[in-house]
Symmetry: C2
Subunit: 190 residues, 2 copies
């Protein structure tokens, strides 16, 4: 059976301990979301597929009345996860960034509109940064019991990533201001 990176995300989450589909989503939303997002529409069908393939095992948890299916990773699943983690070759990565795309084509805008675009981009990444900072204490706490330092490092990576874009917007705005004042002095100012 063909497994995609999303399948391994699920496998990886289950390796940290048995979980329901709902919990996988909740965990992913505060960890992998910023570099690999996942939705219910992928999780539930994929859990069934992985179960059929023997990589995970689901039991209907009669914990309380609430119907809930908890999955655990099997030795076969651990093996598959390990194979993926050490697999040589291309590490796929892609970015789709509307802000930078618009900026690239922003030469038909005037100076103020360009600046507005950069500001909008900046607040977006600032907000994402705040979101990550908000979940940081939880991850730090979890490190001792069960959690590992890699989750923390990855979280810090996410914060640094947002920082990059915030700084980028600042730098671009400054560069824009320089070019603008140059043009003004050349044409004699507005």
């Amino acid at each position: 059976m063909e497994l995609g990176n999303t399948s391994y995300l699920i496998l990886g989450m289950l390796r940290k301990g048995p979980k329901s589909g709902y919990e996988i989503k909740a965990q992913a939303d505060v960890s992998t979301r910023f570099f690999w997002a996942i939705s219910y529409g992928q999780i539930y069908p994929e859990l069934k597929r992985l179960d059929r393939a023997g990589l995970i095992e689901g039991v209907t948890d009669p914990d309380d009345g609430r119907q809930r299916r908890v999955y655990s990773i099997t030795p076969l699943g651990e093996e598959a996860l390990r194979e993926w983690l050490t697999r040589p070759g291309e590490l796929h990565s892609e970015l789709r960034h509307e802000g930078v795309l618009r900026f690239f084509f922003a030469d038909s805008l005037d100076h103020e509109e360009r600046v507005a675009l950069l500001r909008a981009m900046r607040v977006k990444h600032e907000r994402l940064r705040e979101e990550l900072l908000a979940i940081a204490p939880g991850a730090d706490e979890a490190r001792g019991k069960g959690g590992n330092s890699l989750s923390l490092l990855t979280l810090e990576t996410g914060i640094a990533y947002q920082d990059f874009f915030v700084d980028l917007c600042d730098r671009l705005e400054r560069r824009l201001a320089e070019t603008e004042s140059e043009t003004e002095s050349t044409t004699g100012g507005s």
Copy 2:
């Protein structure tokens, strides 16, 4: 008609001057590719759609014998592009990064394997950085005639973006080394 960001990419490319689908792809490959990739499978059908909607206009270029359809942006298309560039609200952006994803789940690996993963990630971004540097002279030259400084700024952004990941890998490897030596001293060393 509903237009996606990819439609605006095409519109934006045509605003820089009339082009064939083939040329749009070639231009995108040395500019937007790193933050918004595009393929022929999207371009050709989309060109027909945009033409039908009156946002662009195609003429079969009898330049030489080679069959070639060159599209130009119409005033309606320019308007649509401008509306998009100044549209308020969410700037969509998403990242899918297999390297960081693997790293997040790499606690089942041993130290050497983790380092190998970071190294693989590093060379990937270094290679991408080289690719961008290779196209930089062309963009710099084009700035004077027809090209604008925004393409150059965007290109520099792409380089800085790859730099971020190269630095990140270095930092993470160092952090890993620290944790590793701590563990060694705690357990009495290997």
